[in-house]
């Protein structure tokens, strides 16, 4: 069945089709429609789930960690300040190994207030241990929620499906809604080994001394490493049933490319058009879209970049005092490689400023004039 859905409702349908059993959330622009629709679905009985109204995002995540420990499938969504308020509990969800799935709508932080898109909210959760997948269109938003549950439950780590504020969250697109029976076939009910059960009481996450704590951290890292394969396998399984393929990364005209544009989310989607425009001008350029940011697909990045001379990473985010965050990750992945391309880092589109296909062409042409980056950050569109 095809339906015209905004990105936010694509998240809601993803959770519904995944048969989320407990949903807990606090509203925030630009996320509100996600939980508005889910609460309606719960009220009407269309979705058989418990909707917990809470007083903050911190409580939303806390309640889901508890629910997930019981062994049920859980969902929430937030954005910007809300995700930041969840921060402590995001760590908790990882340590407790509860595979909560949440939607994060990328919105810039205040002050100054902004409701428009920027990736700093999700990227500042980089080291919590949450898996993160950056969607480029609304179909991918819905499909990624379903895949996220499958991967999250198999590695016992939570996962975040990330989408751009307004560019996706409030933009309507025609979406293929998978049949419930097929989703059920793809995603069986969640089974948990150690359950929170009043009839068999145990303490969860109790004080653990230095003799044992280290190993628990090791296990989280191992789960992340396992998740690299699981995202790829899950993408293939998903394709077999639904006909749409997803992986850790996506490339476009990269096979014979001399130079590469690297980006994520909707900027990467726009860059596809820029690649076509540049190819028309005779440039041997391709695109690498990093879809899964955590776990970071370093091996894939290394392989794709090994045959490239120059790469330009466009970040709609900034690690203050360093550079763009995807750029740091790509550079780190390439550091020990023999065939290491020159990597340029561009910051563009902060606070929701448009990044058009023409902008990306300009970015590419500007950096290709340089032999080496003049600084770790190249600003695009700054009013100088």
């Amino acid at each position: 069945m095809r339906k015209v859905l905004m990105g936010n409702h694509a998240l809601s349908y993803g959770a519904k089709l995944s048969r989320a059993q407990v949903i807990s959330a606090y509203p925030i622009t630009p996320q509100t429609e996600v939980i508005e629709l889910l609460s309606q679905m719960c009220a009407s009985g269309e979705l058989n789930a418990k909707f917990i109204k809470v007083e903050s995002e911190h409580s939303a995540m806390a309640s889901l960690v508890g629910a997930s420990a019981v062994g049920v499938r859980t969902f929430t969504a937030s954005s910007s300040q809300g995700t930041a308020l969840m921060h402590e509990m995001l760590h908790w969800a990882v340590g407790a190994r509860t595979p909560v799935v949440m939607g994060n709508i990328n919105r810039a932080f205040a002050p100054p207030w902004s409701i428009w898109t920027e990736q700093n909210d999700s990227l500042s959760q980089r080291d919590t241990g949450w898996m993160q997948v950056y969607a480029q269109n609304n179909q991918e938003v819905l499909d990624s929620v379903i895949q996220a549950y499958k991967v999250a439950e198999s590695v016992e780590l939570p996962a975040m499906v990330v989408l751009a504020a307004f560019v996706l969250s409030h933009t309507s697109e025609a979406i293929e809604i998978p049949a419930q029976e097929k989703v059920d076939e793809f995603l069986p009910p969640y089974e948990r080994e150690y359950k929170l059960d009043p009839d068999d009481p145990h303490a969860f996450g109790g004080l653990t001394d230095p003799e044992n704590y280290y190993e628990f951290r090791y296990k989280i890292q191992k789960a992340m490493e396992k998740a690299l394969d699981r995202w790829e396998e899950t993408g293939r399984e998903f394709e077999n049933i639904f006909g749409r393929r997803y992986g850790l990364v996506e490339t476009y005209k990269a096979d014979d490319a001399k130079n590469l544009i690297i980006s994520s989310a909707t900027v990467a989607s726009t860059a596809r058009k820029s690649v076509d425009m540049l190819r028309d001008k005779g440039e041997k350029v391709g695109l690498l879209r990093i879809r899964v940011f955590r776990p970071f697909p370093a091996k894939k990045v290394r392989k794709i970049l090994s045959s490239v001379e120059k790469a330009v990473v466009i970040d709609r985010n900034i690690g203050f005092g360093v550079s763009g965050i995807f750029c740091q990750e790509v550079k780190a992945a390439m550091y020990n490689e023999k065939n290491n391309p020159t990597i340029f880092g561009v910051i563009a589109g902060l606070g929701g400023r448009d990044v058009t296909s023409r902008n990306i062409v300009e970015i590419y042409e500007d950096v290709m004039k340089m032999e080496k980056p003049e600084s770790d950050i190249i600003w695009k569109g700054l009013k100088e």
């Binding site: 340590g95 145990h202 303490a203 969860f204 996450g205 109790g206 003799e211 044992n212 296990k219």
Partner: protein
């Protein structure tokens, strides 16, 4: 369930550990009374059974003991009382004394 004490367990290999920390038993086994430096003691001559200590106790260790009929008596479970002193602070008739633990 018998209330045994917790033992320290050291795992030899990471594979022996579950994915997240889970206790073998309920927290009933984790007797926290040994943490106590100060011991609250109820003076039954003054106690009016107002239940304020029961309500405020953060550990739920003030137990209601039925004395027959309507009569009740409040008792502190010293196996778990950590001696925070909140009951002593909150008691409106000063029916709880606090004493330093010997050891």
């Amino acid at each position: 369930m018998s209330k045994k004490s917790c033992k320290t367990i050291i795992f030899k290999k990471e594979k022996e550990l579950p994915s997240s920390a889970v206790s073998f038993h309920s927290m009933e086994y984790n007797k926290t009374g040994s943490w106590r430096n100060f011991r609250p003691v109820i003076n039954y001559d003054k106690c009016t059974n107002c239940m304020i200590c029961w309500k405020f106790c953060p550990e739920g260790v003030i137990k209601i003991k039925k004395e027959g009929g309507e009569r009740i008596k409040l008792e502190i479970d010293y196996e778990y009382c950590k001696g925070c002193g909140i009951c002593w602070e909150e008691c409106p008739v000063e029916a709880i004394d606090i004493e330093e633990e010997e050891d």
